[in-house]
């Protein structure tokens, strides 16, 4: 049942991704409606599958790579719908749904069995730390998508060529820059709190706050990248293209942290 739900969610996300990529070239009211319905149904099924897994496992289902990647995708789609509701820029989907689909696909390839929790994970910090971390990272994922849109739109305006089609449908540079900034100001405190709660958890479980675990290091690197984005924006006025590029680099770092460390196979975050 749980497997079936997950596969259904994946299928709907896949269909939504296809439609959203088609929309890059040709967008009509009908394609938009199809896209949003597919993503909406996928999201609903995905939510049910996570709740179902929560009930069958008896704890928050963010305890292995399959669950973590799936929950990360869920957070991205969740924030995507908030953005869609707030700004009505459906074209974001063309830049973010492929990311969601790739994450979900990789999640589907990972071992899915529910194992008993190791003693270290049996903590109330599990829910708090992981939800904060993934919501924060999901905001950065969307900042990546928006940053990508900014780079594309900025290229059109700067090069003065092909000023129709996609150029017409993308929002203004200022709008994209503002959304990007808001997403980072939303994600940054969450990431900060995730690092703090992680340290507190480590202290209570292992007796020390920080042990230079690879994921800790990359979380710190990510934290610095976004701290720089915010700092440079406020002091040196690094907005627009530079902010967009940095938010793309920031998210790529997150992805490397996420999958790279898994491959590295070291440290106590390795289960994820």
């Amino acid at each position: 049942m749980g497997v079936l739900l997950f596969e259904f969610a994946l299928t709907f996300y896949f269909a939504a991704t296809i439609v959203s990529v088609i929309e890059l070239f040709k967008e009509t009211k009908i394609t938009s409606r199809i896209m949003i319905s597919l993503a909406g149904i996928g999201f609903a099924i995905h939510t049910v599958s996570i709740v179902y897994r929560y009930i069958s496992a008896g704890h928050i289902p963010i305890t292995n790579a399959h669950e973590a990647t799936s929950f990360f995708s869920w957070c991205i789609v969740f924030i995507f719908f908030i953005l869609e509701f707030r700004y009505r820029i459906l074209l974001i989907s063309s830049f973010i749904m492929p990311v969601v689909f790739i994450l979900m696909l990789s999640s589907s390839l990972m071992p899915r069995e529910i194992k008993p929790l190791t003693p270290m994970l049996q903590s109330y910090w599990l829910g708090i730390h992981t939800v904060l971390a993934f919501l924060g990272n999901a905001a950065f994922a969307l900042a990546f998508g928006i940053g990508f849109m900014y780079i594309v739109q900025e290229h059109y305006v700067k090069s003065k060529k092909h000023l129709r089609g996609l150029f017409d449908r993308l929002p203004s540079l200022q709008t994209l820059d503002e959304i990007n900034y808001r997403l980072i100001t939303f994600g940054f405190p969450l990431l900060t709190l995730a690092i703090i709660t992680g340290a507190l958890w480590a202290e209570s479980a292992l007796g020390r706050y920080w042990s230079w675990d690879p994921r800790e290091v990359l979380a710190l690197v990510t934290w610095f990248i976004y701290a720089i984005i915010l700092h440079a924006r406020l002091t040196a006025g690094w907005r627009g293209k530079k902010a967009a590029l940095l938010s793309i680099i920031g998210f790529l770092t997150i992805l490397i942290a996420f999958f790279g460390i898994k491959l590295l196979g070291k440290g106590y975050h390795v289960f994820i």
Binding site: Q153, V157, K158, K160, L163, L170, D177, G237, R239
Partner: protein
């Protein structure tokens, strides 16, 4: 019932000819009423704009009607008939429908897709309604033309992209800034095109207007006109720090804003996006400043490039619009032909009533002894018989079937009626 169009437009007649034929001011009412009074004209509308003068009519005989309309035009505007005949186009029937639909959809306009023409047609129609010079055919036709135009507007992108330099500048500004009404705009220098672009931008709504000019008095005058603030010419660079959109057109022979100056400005404005439009020839702003991050510099050729691209795009969309027009002509013709069955039905009923009356008279003359009650009953029965008899053909005529033309002809022949006879004088 046939639609006739007599008129001219910018494509075939120069402005001096169009001026002479224009129905403006009080001439419109006088002209429309006289036009309607022409013996061949049953319904009348006059559309008179700066690009076209067109007379729409419902007529019976195209030849006679167009002759009398031409005579009317030459008399009304005191023009030489020979010269007039050469500069007019005459369309009838399907061609007339197509022409009117194309005009309303702005496919026949000087700038394809411009929106004014639809409003002008609506005005012309409402004026004709007010003066009671229209009837069933033209009312239906103009309403149809308006709906065709709306369909073209929503189903094609014919009116979507700016086709003038000043509109293109405003559209680009909207792709850089979220809300122009929170942006500061500076007009640097003067000149017809710069002022036009400034007007468009200001009418879209900006937060503040700054005006700078080499002669400060001129800056003050323009500032007054645009409801803005004058800025001394040697201070304009400082003011770009708080200006988001700059339109520049001075007579300077050299660059008045160089890259290093602009870099300092960008630092001071915390790298906020700025849109600079240099429409001066020779250019006044160092083209290299387009390389600075968050600075978007467009010169006159860049904007012309945008406009040319948009015109090309509109022409492609116009092809889709032509297809819509063709479709709508079909539906209108269907409606129009449904009207033809009405006189046939009327004639059929009249013929039946005639027979009933004849036969009743004969019968009642032969039987003078019957009472009022019996008389009523016989009359009632006769009415019921003819009603029952003509009911099926009436229904069949009203139906929208392919062979209706044949059916109309057959019924006319079978019952010995000719609907046209009743219609024609």
């Amino acid at each position: 019932m046939k639609v006739l169009v007599v008129g001219l437009n910018h494509k075939i007649a120069d402005l001096d000819v169009r001026e002479k034929l224009a129905f403006n001011g009080p001439k419109l009412e006088e002209g429309l009423l006289k036009f309607k009074e022409l013996p061949e004209v049953y319904e009348a509308i006059i559309l008179s704009t700066c690009n076209r003068v067109e007379l729409y009519a419902n007529v019976r005989d195209i030849g006679k009607a167009s002759e009398s309309i031409k005579a009317f035009l030459s008399e009304f505007h005191s023009l030489n008939r020979g010269a007039l005949d050469n500069s007019l186009y005459i369309y009838d029937d399907t061609k007339a429908l197509k022409h009117i639909f194309r005009v309303a959809s702005s496919l026949d306009s000087m700038v394809i897709g411009e929106p004014q023409i639809l409003g002008q047609i609506k005005d012309a129609f409402e004026f004709a309604l007010e003066k009671k010079t229209t009837g069933i055919l033209l009312n239906k036709l103009i309403k149809k033309a308006i709906s065709v135009a709306k369909r073209v507007r929503t189903e094609t992108k014919i009116a979507e992209n700016a086709v003038s330099i000043s509109f293109a500048a405003v559209e680009l500004a909207k792709k850089i800034f979220t809300d122009l009404s929170t942006r500061v705009f500076m007009l640097l220098g003067a000149g017809e095109m710069a002022e036009l672009a400034a007007k468009h931008l200001i009418s879209t709504g900006v937060k503040e207007v700054l005006v700078s000019n080499r002669t400060y008095e001129r800056a003050c005058d323009l500032a007054k006109e645009f409801n803005g603030q004058p800025v001394k010419f040697d201070e304009f660079i400082q003011e770009i720090v708080r200006s988001d959109i700059v339109i520049c057109s001075t007579g300077a022979q050299d660059y008045i804003l160089k890259k290093n100056q602009m870099q300092r400005v960008m630092k001071d404005r915390k790298q906020k996006q700025v849109f600079i439009i240099d429409i001066s020839v020779p250019r006044n702003i160092d083209p290299e400043i387009n390389e600075i991050d968050n600075v978007y510099l467009y010169n006159i050729d860049d904007l012309q490039g945008v406009v040319n691209g948009n015109i090309f795009e509109r022409q492609k969309e116009a092809e889709k619009a032509e297809k819509i027009v063709e479709e709508e002509i079909e539906t209108f013709l269907k409606w129009q032909s449904s009207l033809d069955s009405v006189p046939t039905i009327v004639a059929l009923r009249e013929r039946a009533e005639e027979i009933k009356k004849e036969e009743l008279d004969k019968l009642l003359n032969k039987m003078p002894e019957i009472g009022e009650k019996e008389k009523k009953a016989i009359e009632y029965m006769a009415t019921a018989i003819i009603n029952k008899l003509i009911h099926p053909p009436t229904v069949a005529l009203k139906e929208d079937s392919e062979d209706r033309d044949i059916m109309i002809a057959t019924i006319k022949r079978l019952y010995g009626i000719d609907a046209e006879e009743n219609e024609e004088e």
